[in-house]
Amino acid sequence: MTATVVLIGLAAGTYGLKAAAPLLLSGRALPPVVARLADLLPAALLAALALVSTVTRDGATVVDARLVGLAAAACALVARAPFIVVVIVAAAATALARSLM
């Protein structure tokens, strides 16, 4: 149920953001402050999401083998690996660390 509420709310809100300029703004620019914030927000949010999804499970703080997976993913990214390789390396490193612990 909650998932369906999120689905409807996020779909409507996202569409509003996508369509605002083509439907209403035609030609005008965003205020520089808004443009700069919109440019910087994803970095802050994605970093938070990466870290929080590493150290939580079902709402509780849990430090486990996923930390090894995240470190392995970072190494793969430094080595310029494509997305699929990064994700597989993270899963494999986590599975390996779990089997050793």
Binding site: T2, A3, T4, V6, L7, G9, L10, A11, G13, T14, Y15, L17, K18, A19, A20, A21, P22, L23, L25, G27, L30, P32, V34, A35, R36, A38, L40, L41, P42, A43, A44, L45, L46, A47, A48, L49, A50, L51, V52, S53, V55, T56, G59, A65, R66, V68, G69, L70, A73, L77, P82, F83, I84, V87, V89, A91, A93, T94, A95, R98
Partner: protein, 211 residues
Amino acid sequence: MAVTPFGVAFGIAAANAGLATWQASAFSLFVFAGSAQFAAVEVLGGGGSAVAAIAAGLLLNLRSLAFGVTMSTALVGPWWKRAAWSQLMIDESTAVGSAQSEHRWRRYGYLCAGLSIFATWNLTTFVGATALSSGGDVVTTWGIDATIPAAFLALLWPRLADAGQRRSALAGGLVALTLVPLTPAGVPILASTLGVLAGGQRRREPEPATT
């Protein structure tokens, strides 16, 4: 075709967070914004409220507003056409479209990139969501739970080339980690938006990141 593994990963993340296959597919059809879909599903799976999940997704998508401004001069026509085209407003379609010089080719590039990614994204979401319906121990035994933080890190990575973005990411990450043990699920993600204050002064127009 870089979206193929990402779509499968989203389907898996959605199933992992307890969403039904039709819900995962509806996200990809009606939201159609990769990182926001991941964020909403992650907050939901972590036990966050609906409001927190929607807010996390929308904040991540605030950049679509800037993409719309970039593309609006090329997306001309009757309102119903502009309304339909707008659903394809993502990083990749804006990147391809804005790389062309003439308005007609900007629109053509935007639509071609947008439509091909829309088709791939929805197909691969479905594959990922159905692949994990077995659920349970498979997720931890194979380390599938670690693919979600890895996906977020991979999305973040290309942004880190810029110093302001690095400060924003570092501050956002620290705020969120500090709040994790103290606040209800979902709040640390929303509070991480304070990280932009560390990002510093404006330097250029936002550019779409190619993932």
